[in-house]
């Protein structure tokens, strides 16, 4: 089993090197100051490389990762949130929020019916407080809410 920290270190190392490489590719224009736009990113990349290198060589004890079921729950939540972000404008705030909040509430332990009620409650509650009372503009769907 590969330690998580070794993966973290390796990813950080690659990211750091890529960042330094990316910095050397920055095209400079006519205006040039003493240091230029490349040096500071190169310093940052080097710090990342050094820190990641240390973590790669001397990893900490393994963190408590969730079991497969937990990972699936989190992936599910990510899908719900991405779907919500994409649906917000075409569908409108109230409906998309009610659906997303219901799903999240259900997965956090509500009964299916309880989840739906909770989702509608959150959606309508936010709509009333933030839109009707405070006048914040929320995403308007084809139905106007």
């Amino acid at each position: 089993m590969i330690r998580s920290d070794r993966i973290l270190g390796a990813v950080g190392l690659i990211l750091g090197v890529a960042f330094i490489w990316g910095a050397t590719l920055i095209e400079t224009g006519f205006i040039v100051d003493a240091l230029g736009p490349k040096s500071f990113p190169i310093i940052i990349g080097s710090v990342l490389v050094l820190g990641s290198g240390y973590v790669l060589v001397r990893p900490d004890p393994e963190p408590a990762w969730p079991a497969l079921a937990g990972v699936l729950e989190i992936l599910g939540a990510i899908v719900v949130l991405i779907g919500y972000a994409l649906a917000l404008e075409p569908v409108g705030f109230v409906i998309s929020t009610a659906v997303a909040a219901s799903l999240l509430s259900w997965r956090l332990g509500s009964s299916p019916l309880g989840g739906v009620l909770c989702g509608i409650g959150i959606s309508v509650g936010i709509y009333v407080i933030f839109h009707l009372v405070l006048g914040l503009s929320l995403a308007r769907g084809p139905l106007g809410f």
Partner: protein
């Protein structure tokens, strides 16, 4: 005299109906946010910032609202510590040690009242400290040139990393990640594109509010998905909420010491409220624990850390206001708000916008009185809020985060970016990579680079200018000590966070 004049001006600003209302709202929300396990000052304030903007609040009212939330959280954190043995936020961790045993002995009401009073003492004197010392630090700040500022920023990262993580290498990684993200977009001094990958959304750089809400609020939702079912319920019944005179006498010393220690811990860049309450408890235990009663329900062990965490919350505002370098996670979030409002903290803030500074300080005095009233007679109300289960709370948190970010950006791209930050924040938290240096890097990256480039322009490219003045040398040495010392004495100084990720960096 000058001080009193300024304060009087401040009170004139703060005592309008609108500002009083915002302070009251902030105190109320803050106490709730602090009391709810899983929501603390930094994610609470992070969620509210975009909302404050979209509501179009000007600088002073917005700052009053959010700092009232910040102070309120410091009060609220103790409620769940005492009643449920779950710290409402990280600084309230030490409050569980003697607070929960007191509740189990049937003295929950007394413990809540006493800790409320200790919170008041801590933040009241710390606010006086802000009024006294922030203008003094501003005078020092006038001596700072670009080289000194660069050294100061490095110092902030070094000391912040030292206390926020067990592993300095991971703090360094976190800082580099944040700074790297700040580099995305158009370079301010030469106008060239950096790391934009041809994406038009990235030309302006990444909005730090998107990053903050993602890292703090959305990642919290994922953590709850992982350990769901941790429902809260209050078993203890609240008795009379009063403090016997004898208890008050016994704890005065503890409160005074806690306040002093907490304040100093708050002013030091990077230390923050968790360290303040931790050191306050440890020192109180060393001075007063003669019969071995600490940890079993000693009132002094409750008063000291509560005074300590509130005092450091106030203290942390000093470097944020006068130097623009935040002393803790939440002040970093508050700094984000000031920067978005185009207010740059530092000496110029005190000269150009004295109304903002003194209005804020006056509002904090007012908020403190409100909080004392809310947190002693009305504490039962907040205790009931703790019964809101995570399955309702967390979806609401996620949805409100979306509302806020959509409100400031109106763009789906920013929402997706926020989710990405949420996932990244979750993974980093699991791997014990601290998030505060990431935030600080995103916030300060461009200023840090500007100062470095300005310094080198002055010296025509000679790096020696960075350590060319005694002040700069002092800052660099402090930075080195701040980074290295925790590796040696780290285990003694750092608050021990229990296995559950209550990783809210105050």
């Amino acid at each position: 005299m000058e001080l009193l004049d300024s304060l009087a001006q401040g009170f004139a600003v703060a005592l309008t109906l609108e500002n009083l209302g915002l302070a009251l709202l902030g105190c109320f929300l803050g106490t709730i946010i602090g009391a709810l396990p899983g929501l603390g000052p930094s994610n609470g304030v992070a969620i509210l910032i975009p909302l404050a903007f979209t509501l179009g609040l000007p600088a002073t009212p917005a700052l009053i609202l959010l700092t009232s939330v910040y102070y309120g959280c410091m009060y609220g954190g103790r409620i769940s510590s005492i009643l449920l043995n779950i710290p409402g936020d990280e600084p309230a961790l030490m409050t569980t040690l003697d607070g929960y045993p007191l509740a189990k002995q049937g003295r929950a009401g007394e413990a809540l009242a006493l800790s409320g009073l200790a919170s008041f003492v801590g933040s009241f004197f710390a606010t006086i400290g802000v009024a006294l010392f922030a203008p003094l630090l501003v005078k020092v700040a006038l001596l700072f040139g670009p080289a000194e500022y660069f050294a100061l920023f490095t110092l902030a990262f070094a000391t912040l990393g030292g206390v926020s993580s067990k592993n300095q290498a991971k703090s360094a990684m976190a800082a580099a990640l944040g700074l790297g993200i700040a580099m995305i977009g158009i370079d301010g001094s030469t106008g060239v594109y950096r790391f934009t990958f041809g994406n038009i959304h990235l030309l302006d750089g990444i909005d730090f509010l998107v990053a903050i809400v993602g890292l703090f609020a959305i990642s919290e939702v994922f953590l709850f998905m992982e350990h769901k079912g941790a429902e809260s319920a209050i078993g203890t019944r609240l008795d009379r909420i009063t403090i016997p005179l004898a208890t008050l006498k016994r704890t005065l010393g503890a409160m005074a010491r806690g306040t002093g220690i907490g304040f100093i811990a708050g002013v030091l860049p990077g230390a923050g409220a968790s360290l303040g309450s931790f050191v306050a408890y440890t020192i109180e235990k060393r001075t007063s624990d003669r019969q071995g009663t600490f940890g079993k329900g000693d009132v002094r062990g409750l008063a000291a850390p509560e005074a300590g965490n509130n005092a450091s919350a106030g203290g942390a505002l000093i470097p944020m206001l006068s130097l623009g370098v935040p002393g803790s996670g939440t002040t970093a979030v508050l700094l984000a708000m000031l920067l978005t409002l185009n207010i740059t903290p530092g000496p110029l803030l005190f000269q150009r916008n004295p109304d903002v500074v003194w209005g804020l300080i006056a509002a904090l005095f007012i908020a403190n009185v409100m909080l004392l009233l809310m947190n002693i007679p009305l504490v039962g109300l907040f205790a009931r809020v703790l019964q809101v289960p995570a399955r309702i709370l967390m979806p609401a948190v996620a949805m409100v985060s979306f509302v806020g970010i959509y409100g400031i950006s109106g763009s789906t791209f920013e929402l997706l970016l926020m989710i990405a930050f949420g996932v990244g924040g979750y993974v980093l938290r699991k791997l014990d990579v601290p998030l505060v240096p990431v935030i600080l890097g995103i916030l300060l990256g461009n200023q840090m680079e500007d100062n470095l480039r300005r310094a080198l322009s002055i010296s025509n490219g000679d790096w020696g200018i960075l350590w060319g003045s005694p002040l700069a040398i002092g800052l660099w040495s402090f930075a080195v000590v701040g980074f290295v010392a925790p590796m040696i004495v780290g285990r003694m100084l750092r608050p021990r966070v229990p296995a559950a990720e209550t990783a809210d960096p105050d």
